[in-house]
């Protein structure tokens, strides 16, 4: 989903920056607030960021015969909300743009919009929906992570079709969807499973933090803690 350096006309770069920056600013405020109120959620925030670091560095083969990488953005979105993930994703994207020539500084706004905003918002909404429907936390986070990852790539396809509607937006969209979103389907499922693995460990070790972050209901957290003993 990394749009390479220089591969968006300058006015689209400005446009996506303008959309991403307010969210990142709001995310910084939110992170400050939550870490002041719950100081022991800091290591959990580090885990959410580290998860994005690992997953976005792993380029995996897909059934379409090309390779792509997961994003890791669903975990952070469920734990800390989408705005916090826009900050974590920005850190990863700057690292990759400067050291790996993967993505770019001009396209940072666009890439953060797909990986740090749309993906996490979708993941967060699906998590909320799944919880409302009474599904288990593991199933909820699986669906959230799968769709967060996949919608990140769909967003990239939309961004590129908007910038290069050749000959029309629709036909360009079909082209980019084939490149990005088809390849991503099995990888999104893999990301969902990996997110379940780490989430279940977090749930087992520190259900109390998850309850205080309002990720789990108090009675659920206490039940998990009782089972672990």
């Amino acid at each position: 989903m990394h749009i390479a350096e220089g591969f968006l006309p300058w006015y689209w770069c400005v446009f996506w920056y303008a959309l991403a920056i307010p969210v990142i600013a709001y995310g910084v405020i939110q992170i400050k607030k939550v870490t002041e109120k719950q100081p022991d959620s800091k290591p959990l925030l580090a885990v959410a960021g580290a998860f994005i670091f690992i997953l976005s560095s792993l380029k995996m083969p897909s059934v379409t015969g090309s390779c792509s990488h997961p994003c890791g953005n669903g975990l952070g979105a469920v734990l800390f909300g989408p705005a916090a993930v826009s900050v974590l994703a920005a850190i990863v994207l700057v690292f990759q743009a400067l050291l790996l020539a993967h993505g770019g500084i001009t396209t940072l706004g666009a890439n953060d919009f797909s990986m740090g905003i749309v993906g996490p918002v979708v993941a967060w909404l699906i998590w909320k929906g799944a919880r409302k429907a009474g599904w288990s936390p593991s199933l909820g986070i699986f669906l959230a992570a799968v769709m967060g990852d996949w919608l990140t790539y769909v967003t990239t396809a939309i961004q590129l079709s908007l910038a290069f509607p050749i000959p029309t937006f629709g036909s360009a969209f079909v082209k980019f969807i084939v490149i990005y979103a088809y390849t991503q389907v099995p990888l999104a499922i893999a990301e969902g499973l990996l997110t379940v693995v780490i989430f279940e460990y977090i749930m087992k070790l520190r259900p109390d933090i998850l309850v205080r972050l309002k990720v789990l209901k108090p009675e659920e957290g206490k039940k998990i803690a009782a089972e672990a003993d």
């Binding site: 390479a4 885990v47 390779c67 020539a101």
Partner: protein, 114 residues
């Protein structure tokens, strides 16, 4: 004893491995020369260049070879892995200590020289 969560983790990781091994087995023998296993992040720009667009800025710095690139990607994954391992290990030890204390065992948190 392997905990319930670890058992589930092993099963889920096996499924992830199967998802990733399948394309490798299915396209076995084919490689980059035949157009397989390239990155979708590279295919996008390749297609855009066929429309006659040329990037208007170049990256400030590019890894000079794929060796250096894989070094930096491995570094990125290692940074993430060490943080997760550290935090989960710390929490795991916390809960072990708590359990030992509850059982009345002496917590093994002293340095022992002999």
């Amino acid at each position: 004893m392997v905990s319930k969560v670890t058992k589930r983790a092993i099963i889920l990781l096996c499924i992830v491995a199967a998802i990733l091994i399948f394309p490798l087995a299915y396209y076995n023998g084919k490689g980059e020369a035949q157009g397989y296993f390239g990155g979708s992040d590279d295919q996008g720009p390749e297609y855009i260049e066929t429309t006659g667009y040329h990037p208007w800025v170049q990256p400030l710095w590019e890894p000079p070879s794929s060796e250096i690139e894989s070094l930096l990607f491995a570094l990125q994954a290692a940074i993430g892995a060490i943080i997760i391992g550290y935090v989960l290990g710390y929490w795991k030890c916390q809960s072990n200590m708590k359990r030992r204390k509850e059982k009345g065992e002496v917590p093994q948190d002293q340095l022992k020289w002999e």
